[in-house]
């Protein structure tokens, strides 16, 4: 039974993903005089393209004379194989199982082919190229621009940039994000890159470990996301200095160009809001995946998007608003992965500029103390504010004694 089921699932998978078969769709002739209720190859291919194909429930309506005749000879008595498979495929079969949850009685899920195709195709391809492309661009930037130096030379004195608790939150966020990124990539790419290279045993072991780390480290990421938001949101509200900073490309592309900035410049604000918004979206879909079928969110989201006419704006049909439990999970997985790829690309650039790419930047998150000259070049307004505060503080402060 199980091997047969696997054979059918594999067959469907092959039909769904094999471009040669998909291309020959037009050439398929309808079989000779199909019985009115029989499923044709055309029907099957149309269903695999996700089209609605009208279907009579043969099991419910009683089978044709031909099938009855076949049934008499068959090992299943009156129930034919095709009827059974049809029942399994369209959810009309009466299935009992000792497994629980909405997934347990669904043995064949057509809609999932679309998801499998996306996950094994464009998601891996474009996601992979996005990350490699980002690394390539950064390498190019490094070759052309080199390390961004402190133009005025080190002052030798330092100024406090981040308090220990801020650095703790940053590293909680960074450590967990990197672990989540690596284990997520292993989950998506293990079968295509690790398995052929190191074998199934190693891949299985890595996949299991990755799942444990990915599921459980997610909480550290979510906690850190909240901490970072609370600590830094006030410094990340866009203001007028951001425009000047942007117009000068942040001074990133030329020496001795240092547009003024407060605590965070416009580039950093973009990083911050990407982390908060994309990280928030990844967290929500991640929770939905962590507690399967408990927190469906796509049907409701699609309904809202439809109400605003968003699909129409990008030339699409309205999104589906009735989704099977599985489909909810499949959309959650795709969205989770797509947004993660985008955030990973952004963060790779952030890590570059926060370490190798700029002299003096790392200290801000390392010791919390940055060189005064670095601070003046990159955050002039913040330094002025901080020094003004420091000067006025002794006058205002009440001595401890």
């Amino acid at each position: 039974m199980l091997t047969r089921l696997m054979a059918v699932v594999t067959l469907i998978a092959l039909l769904g993903t094999n471009p040669a078969l998909a291309q020959s769709e037009g050439a398929v002739d309808a079989p000779d005089a199909p019985a009115s209720d029989a499923t044709t190859l055309e029907d099957i291919l149309a269903r695999q393209r996700g089209e609605d194909v009208e279907r009579t429930n043969r099991a419910a309506e009683g089978s044709s004379a031909e099938e009855q005749a076949r049934g008499m000879l068959g090992t299943l008595g009156g129930a034919s194989d095709s009827l059974l498979w049809e029942g399994l495929r369209f959810g009309t079969a009466d299935i009992t199982t000792q497994a629980g949850g909405p997934a347990a009685t669904v043995l064949v899920q057509d809609g999932g082919m679309l998801w499998v195709g996306w996950r094994e195709g464009p998601l891996r391809t474009y996601g992979g190229y996005l990350l490699l492309g980002t690394i390539g661009l950064l390498a190019l930037f490094y070759l052309i621009r080199g390390r961004i130096r402190i133009d005025g030379g080190k002052a030798g004195t330092t100024i406090e940039r981040f308090k220990p608790v801020e650095r703790f939150a940053h590293w909680l966020l960074a450590g967990s994000f990197i672990l989540l990124g690596i284990t997520g990539l292993i989950t998506l790419f293990g079968r295509v890159f690790i398995q052929p290279l190191l074998g199934k045993e190693v891949n299985a072991w890595l996949a299991l470990g990755s799942k444990w780390i990915h599921n459980n480290v997610s909480w550290a990421f979510m906690l850190a996301l909240v901490m970072v938001f609370v600590f830094w949101v006030i410094h990340n509200i866009p203001n007028r200095t951001d425009i000047g900073w942007m117009l000068k490309g942040g001074g990133l592309f030329s020496k001795n160009s240092h547009p003024p900035a407060k605590k965070f410049n416009a580039g950093q604000k973009m990083i911050f809001w990407s982390v908060i918004l994309l990280g928030g979206s990844i967290s929500l879909t991640g929770l939905s995946l962590l507690f399967p079928f408990e927190m469906p969110m796509f049907a409701a989201t699609f309904e809202k998007l439809n109400a605003f006419g968003i699909p129409g704006l990008i030339g699409m049909e309205p999104f589906p608003t009735v989704l099977a439990p599985h489909e909810e999970m499949q959309y959650a997985q795709l969205w989770h992965a797509i947004v993660s790829f985008v955030l990973m690309a952004i963060i790779i650039a952030h890590i570059y500029i926060g370490s190798l790419g700029m002299e003096g930047a790392y200290d801000a998150m390392g010791s919390g103390q940055v060189d005064l000259q670095w601070a003046k070049e990159h955050h002039s307004l913040w330094v002025e504010e901080k020094q003004a505060k420091a000067q006025s503080a002794p006058a205002d402060a009440t001595p401890a004694e």
Binding site: T97, Q98, A99, G100, G101, A103, A104, P164, V165, R167, F168, A169, H170, W171, L172, A174, G175, S176, L179, W212, I213, N215, N216, V217, W219, A220, L223, A224, F291, P292, M365, G366, S367, G368
Partner: protein, 41 residues
């Protein structure tokens, strides 16, 4: 450096803690995916 090490330590503690709490409160895969006729362990 100290803040960084503490954060990495916290990541491990949170992960192990989350795993223990979720498993104990009936959120293990076995628990979630058993039917009514199944007795675990």
């Amino acid at each position: 450096m100290k803040a960084m090490m503490l954060a990495f330590l916290a990541t491990i503690v949170i992960a192990v803690g989350a795993n223990a709490i979720l498993n104990q409160s009936g959120f293990s895969s076995e628990d979630r995916y058993q039917g009514e006729a199944v007795r675990l362990n």
